[in-house]
């Protein structure tokens, strides 16, 4: 089985364990430094993102979580006046290298943003957009993928009767699930979540969390969160960042129960942040 394939649900246990044992490194950074103008936002980051595991990135506001996660799909290309040192690798290929294809990378590494950002188009068009961009024109195929992604994002039942309504008419939580569906529709392999619940109410948050836990079965997930419970609930690995540095990285249960670094302990016990 190719490493890139999404593992079907029913085979999950077998393949999952395979990946778990292999601890296949899907993405990693090597001595990564990042600058906004003269200001250094990331310092010497070395982190591994394991295939079919989920990794949470936690840390106080302004420590560089968003900056790091946005580097994984080159979203920071849009920010002028920035500089990268060191490498970011997807399947051992440098994503900033001269041969890297940014469109390809973003297709493989999808992203869900802090604020739900559906296009001001219909629900259907929101989902078909990425497919059409890829040059898929077969109507039945598109339709099938639209339905599939809505089902995976646990939104199908709520919107199946109004696929051709404007997406901005959905509630915040539904919009965020639509954004997740839009991301899934193009079949990424890694999904980056940057505080996906930050603008949602507790009920919508619970739904999204449940969804993310479900998605972990098929995708490699990186999630930035401010919410400790969320991190411990949804992730298997946790990275703690502070002032642009990666202070500690490891199994979530270890980080939360027996952190090695004093800073991590202080943060988790709510001394700052």
């Amino acid at each position: 089985m190719a490493i890139n394939t999404v593992i079907p649900k029913k085979n999950r246990n077998i393949d999952d364990s395979f990946y778990r044992e292999m601890k296949f490194v899907r993405m990693r950074t090597e001595n990564l430094n990042f600058y906004y103008g003269k200001k250094q936002a990331l310092k010497d980051i070395n982190i591994n993102i394991y295939q079919n595991h989920s990794t949470a990135i936690i840390g106080p506001s302004g420590c560089g979580k968003s900056t790091l996660i946005r580097l994984f799909n080159r979203m920071n290309d849009l920010v002028p006046n920035t500089r990268i040192e060191g490498g970011i690798y997807l399947d051992d290929k440098d994503i900033n290298g001269p041969k890297a294809d940014v469109v390809e990378i973003r297709r493989k590494v999808g992203m869900v943003f802090q604020k739900p950002n559906p296009f001001p188009k219909t629900i259907y068009e929101n989902l078909s957009y990425g497919l059409k961009i890829q040059g898929i024109n077969d109507k039945t195929l598109i339709e099938q993928k639209v339905v599939e992604s809505l089902q995976k994002a646990a939104l199908w039942d709520e919107v199946k009767d109004r696929l051709h309504d404007n997406a901005l008419g959905l509630s915040g939580g539904q919009q965020q699930r639509l954004c997740i569906a839009r991301c899934i529709a193009v079949e990424p392999e890694v999904i980056l979540f940057d505080e996906p619940c930050a603008s949602l109410d507790p009920i919508a948050t619970a739904k999204i969390e449940e969804l993310i836990e479900e998605l972990e079965k098929y995708y490699t997930i990186v999630i930035v969160t401010h919410n400790m419970q969320q991190a411990s609930r949804v992730s298997e690995y946790t990275a703690f960042m502070y002032l642009g540095e990666l202070i500690e990285f490891g199994k979530t249960e270890k980080i939360f129960t027996v952190p090695k670094e004093k800073k991590t302990e202080e943060y988790l016990s709510g001394k700052f942040g």
Binding site: N73, M75, L78, P80, V103, E104, R106, R107, G110, M111, F113, K115, N117, P118, F119, P120, K121, Y129, G130, I133, Q134, N166, L168, C179, R182, C183, A185, V186
Partner: protein
Amino acid sequence: MIDAIKFRNYKENTYKWIFTILAFSSLVFLVGIIIVLFKEGLPIFKEVNLFKFLFGKSWYPTYDPPEFGIFPLMLASFWVMIGATIVCVPLGIGSALYLHELASFKQRAFLKPLIEMLAGVPSIVYGFFGMVIVAPFIQKLFNIPVGLSLFTASMILGIMAVPTVCSITEDALSYVPKSFREASFAVGANRWQTLTKVIIPAAGSGISTAIILGMSRIVGETMTVLMVSGGAAIIPKSIFDPVRPMTATIAAEMGECAMGSKHFHALFAIGLILFLVTLFFNIIAEIISRRYRLKLGLGR
């Protein structure tokens, strides 16, 4: 203590009233203008009926008996509007797209004020430029008897409307939330796809507003059109014919006609029609842009 609060309330109330009065004074002017236009314009319809006025083919206000058919004038305004729109839309939207998408920060800081300065040039200067430079050039280029024509007027007015179209389009583009662009890039779209499939559609109604306001500006423009359109009240047969748009007619003839004469009332009636047309354009633009803001969730 109480006195201080009272005084503050008093002061606040005073400000409130001053600003309310200022705000409503523009309404008073508007109503005043409408009343005058109707009062001075309507009497002409005792002489000629509305149909003959609008569709009569000859405008000979000083003949005996005079003829008040404004069809050639309306047609002139219409064609100049179309011609100038053809000029200003690609230029205005193109420069807005350039400013918004491609220009570096420095280029933008330099170009944007420059284009806005174009809006500040007095219209008589455009007219002068058209008469002295563009018209003779066009005359030579196409080897035609006169350079002052529908074509020249369209060119000059089109250029005059570029800043309007450009800056409103640019605003519309920048109102499109950055998150749409990010969302599009995140599913693997490139810059061009994002621009054509997300940004421009999202800004679509804003861009239509820009075009309509540009057109409204063109229709209402007087001085330039008076100087470069040639001034013949005929139905144009080619784009190189001289024409006499409505605004130019009023400006040229108002000084010569006797107050209260039929001619005078006829000119006011033309003004009334112009007013209604531009009002119509502005209302359409307002409706579209309101709907657009709602669509993007920006409130009213």
